[in-house]
């Protein structure tokens, strides 16, 4: 079984979710936005909102959380865009912001959750209603979302976002081998959970 997935590790090739040749290249937009062009910034947001939201959804598994994260990312971008220096691909850079925001939200949440749980004996085992149709898929998602942050990020970027290990390494700012290691560790964990 280990060998079966091992073949996947070497695949390379970056999917660029925002690429579209008919539109102004993203780099131009970014440069204009960095120069203070609000229209350009608006275009960047419009173009990436779905990516941001969908990513957030995959990481959180809840629509309203994802919407919140997406909103926060948009707000962050307002000031952060100036600091984008073009060293990483824009999408990689954006992923990083989204992932950080998700993590921030979940940290804040995990601190407060127990508080809420103490007050309410409702044990909310709910998955979002839309996932209930996919019970097994839902379990997989839950299991993946329950992984340690690094492993979860690596697995979701590789499988849900279908990025190459090289691209994931750029986003997570680690070496490619580390990404493979995260995925490997995640598999070990998931074997127990699934």
């Amino acid at each position: 079984m280990l060998m079966a997935w091992g073949t996947n590790l070497d695949e390379v090739g970056v999917t660029e979710p925002e690429a579209s040749s008919s539109e102004t290249p993203i780099d131009h937009l970014v440069r204009r936005a960095q120069g203070g062009d609000a229209d350009a910034f608006g275009q960047i947001l419009t173009r990436h909102y779905d990516l941001i939201y969908r990513t957030a959804y995959k990481w959180c598994g809840d629509q309203s959380d994802a919407e919140d994260v997406a909103q926060e990312v948009c707000a962050k971008l307002g000031s952060a865009i100036a600091s984008y220096d073009g060293r990483a691909q824009f999408s990689s850079w954006l992923y990083r912001i989204v992932l950080n925001s998700v993590r921030d939200m979940q940290r804040a949440r995990s601190r407060r959750n127990r508080h809420v749980d103490a007050l309410a004996h409702v044990s909310p085992q709910q998955t979002a209603p839309d996932q209930e149709a996919f019970v097994t898929a839902g379990q997989l998602w839950d299991a993946v979302r329950g992984l340690p942050d690094n492993q979860r990020d690596a697995v979701l970027l590789v499988y849900a976002e279908e990025l190459s290990h090289a691209a994931v390494a750029k986003i997570l700012e680690c070496r490619e081998a580390t990404v493979s290691w995260y995925v490997h560790e995640a598999r070990k964990k998931l074997k127990g959970l699934l």
Binding site: D130, V144, L156
Partner: protein
């Protein structure tokens, strides 16, 4: 459940059914982005106006905004019992709050305030928003509700929602949200999973490089409980002492705020060592401590016993106290600008100065916010000069401080005392942007300085951003201790009652090694000290670093042992490998060895003591109060951590703690008893099916 192999299963992840975002949310997000962008384009001066919130130069951003709007579904599902508990807890929480004389930590916002104003159509003025933030966790939300029970419950839920509410239309605020957030999933992503030390340190230190966000939560290095070990296979246990107490203060604050702390925040050895114990006091500085050992039945397991090893550091007479050269490295980032952070530090500093003499010098260096030497080394007797310079410190300047730590060490070096204490004391709420951004480099730097005789202690303030993992790592590398200062009382304990330990080290690199006798003990388990374990061979290796003990510090370690023949968790070996113990030692439980170096010396000294049957108490009631109390603290810690080794009812823990209170002159133990009560309400035994 399916024949798919893992590969296919994971590939299924790309087929997520993702509901389309609502157009309202989309519009709102785009508007928020546009507003943030507009705000960012404004001049620096405007940014400075908001700097008191801590967003200096776009760093140290924190998220609160996203928050938890889904949770309010509970409004309609809360059972009567939970509502009743809510009725009890909320006033209790408020009472605890008001009695600590604290303003809760000010939460940081993610966007500039300008944005927030733009975003919140019906919002009150900015300052009100902040205030609401600050009191949110203490006060039920003001929304009226139909039933009292509901209003309390929703009030508590509202505090989780905070900012997001302000951004939503009124209708949304009142109506229960359609979905409950994924609590179960998120819970399993708690701190233990979320944070790994190797990652958390870089995340905190490299914030500005990596991305505009810095992780917002408190960080804890995760660790596993020490496992049960078979004496016949592994008879020797070795660890370094740890005099930190930060974990207990942190846990207490979380519980007082009505939150059950994450398991990794609970380090049992630090909880044990928070309390003073009445151990035998050594007579001279040459042998700076003597061990006190006792064995008594485990309160949570009838089959096992606890071996308690306690040591108390020598307290030199006042006239032989050596001079201290202290350099305070103070975080003045915006987030420190809170009454329970910089304010608390200022208020408690005077007390510290009273403990110092004219031979001692104090210097102040600031970093982040405003940077530089705020006070050149000044004799501690010039109290007014020192306090005045401290008053001039203000949090929230615009420039990021560079070289803070190097500057602090440089000052300490210039005024280094050859015979006294040279120490840098870092006071922060979690911003470790102190000039060296690479965490490894920073630790190396501190280690090198430690070898040249300058140690480092860390004082942690506030909650929400505290990077406990980094704090611990720095203090351990700097031969110092990490303390968490949650309120004035705690400041008094750390800076007055126990300052001797910080100012005067009496023994360095203290290691403990216990060898158990396989004829008497079949299994053992060290409680706590997980992060301080050493290899067996490290014990005699003087090059291996370990914890230091200051004047008057007490250190307590507990082993849970299974007497031979009473059946344990591990099956005995079929073929055995027992060696016959020395004839004259056949009834000993074990043998305790301790190594330490006197300050400044390179060669370690050895203290040995056998753990003989004459220290065994038949019942826990016969054991000294110190031992009863230590057992209750361990039980409390294990219960909070959901430990896999035995569990007691809250009531049983409480009565044990009560019977172990003893004289308790400072009231710390009484406070602990109250804390057990708080924890039992927050996580009742009944609902806690384990």
């Amino acid at each position: 459940m399916s024949q798919d192999n893992d590969k296919d299963r994971l590939d299924a992840l790309n087929k997520a059914a993702i509901p389309a975002p609502s157009t309202v949310a989309r519009e709102r997000a785009l508007a928020a982005g546009a507003a943030a962008f507009a705000a960012a384009q404004n001049t620096k001066s405007e940014k400075n106006a908001t700097a008191s919130q801590g967003n200096s130069g776009g760093r140290r951003l924190r998220s609160i905004i996203t928050s938890l709007k889904g949770i309010s579904i509970m409004d309609i599902r809360i059972p009567v019992g939970a509502a009743a508990i809510a009725l009890i807890v909320v006033p209790l929480g408020y009472q605890l709050y008001s009695s600590t004389a604290l303003t809760p930590p000010q939460q940081q916002l993610t966007v500039d305030s300008g944005v927030r104003e733009d975003l919140a159509p019906p919002s009150p003025a900015k300052s009100q928003l902040e205030e609401k933030d600050a009191i949110a966790s203490a006060e039920p939300a003001p929304q009226p509700a139909t039933a009292p029970a509901e209003s309390v419950a929703s009030g508590v839920v509202q505090l989780e929602r905070k900012k997001a509410d302000e951004m939503l239309a009124d209708s949304e605020m009142v109506a229960p949200a359609p979905q409950v957030a994924m609590q179960s999933t998120n819970e399993s992503m708690g701190f233990s999973d979320a944070v790994v030390a190797t990652r958390s340190a870089p995340a905190a230190l490299l914030g500005s490089v990596a991305s505009p966000t810095v992780s917002s939560g408190d960080n804890f290095a995760s660790f596993e409980e020490s496992p049960v070990k078979l004496v016949s296979a592994d008879p020797v246990s070795t660890f370094s002492i740890d005099v930190d107490t930060a974990s207990y203060s942190y846990v207490r604050r979380m519980l007082d705020d009505g939150i059950v702390p994450p398991p990794d925040a609970v380090r049992i050895e630090e909880m044990l060592n928070y309390f003073p114990y009445d151990y035998a006091v050594p007579k001279s500085a040459e042998v700076p401590f003597t061990p006190s050992v006792g064995v008594y039945p485990t309160p949570w397991n009838a089959k096992t016993q606890i071996v308690q090893i306690g040591i108390k550091g020598y307290v030199p007479p006042a006239e032989s106290k050596s001079a201290a050269n202290l350099v305070f490295l103070i975080d003045t980032s915006g987030s420190m600008d809170a009454p329970d952070k910089l304010g608390l530090l200022k208020r408690s500093f005077g007390m510290l100065l009273d403990q110092l003499s004219g031979d001692d010098t104090v210097a102040i260096v600031t970093y982040a916010g405003s940077a530089g030497v705020a006070l050149a080394p000044t004799p501690a007797s010039e109290k007014s000069t020192i306090l005045a310079s401290l008053d001039r410190l203000s949090a929230g300047g615009g420039t990021a401080g560079a070289d803070g730590i190097e500057l602090a060490y440089q000052l300490a070096e210039e005024h280094k005392l050859s015979t006294g204490t040279n120490r840098v004391i870092l006071a922060t709420d979690g911003d470790f942007n102190i000039g060296i951004s690479d965490p490894d480099e920073l630790q190396d730097f501190i280690k090198t300085k430690r070898q040249s005789g300058i140690s480092l202690s860390v004082l942690g303030f506030g909650r929400g951003n505290l990077d406990d993992a980094t704090m611990q790592a720095l203090a351990q590398n700097g031969n110092g201790n990490a303390s968490y200062i949650s309120n004035f009382k705690e400041a008094r304990k750390v800076l007055v009652s126990e300052v001797g330990g910080t100012l005067q080290t009496i023994a360095q690199d203290v290691k403990i090694q216990v060898e158990f006798n396989p004829a008497v003990v079949s299994e053992y388990r060290l409680i706590g000290y997980e992060t301080r374990a050493l290899d067996r061979e490290d014990f005699n290796n003087d090059a291996v670093d370990a914890g230091d003990i200051g004047a008057g510090h007490t250190v307590t370690a507990l082993y849970e042992i299974t007497p031979a023949g009473s059946g344990g968790l591990i099956d005995p070996l079929r073929y055995g490998n027992q060696t016959t113990p020395k004839a004259d030692a056949s009834d000993e439980i074990g043998f305790l060895k301790m190594r330490y170096k006197l300050p400044g010396e390179k060669i370690s000294q050895l203290i040995e003591q056998k753990i003989a049957p004459n220290v065994v108490y038949e019942t826990i009631d016969e054991a000294p109060t110190d031992m009863q109390f230590a057992a209750s603290v361990a039980a409390f810690g294990q219960k909070l951590k959901d430990s896999s080794y035995g569990e007691m009812d809250w009531d049983a823990i409480k009565s044990l703690a009560q019977s172990g209170r003893g004289a308790d002159p400072d009231g710390y133990r009484a406070e602990f008893v109250n804390l057990i009560g708080t924890a039992s309400v927050l996580r009742p035994d009944v609902g806690h099916a384990k």
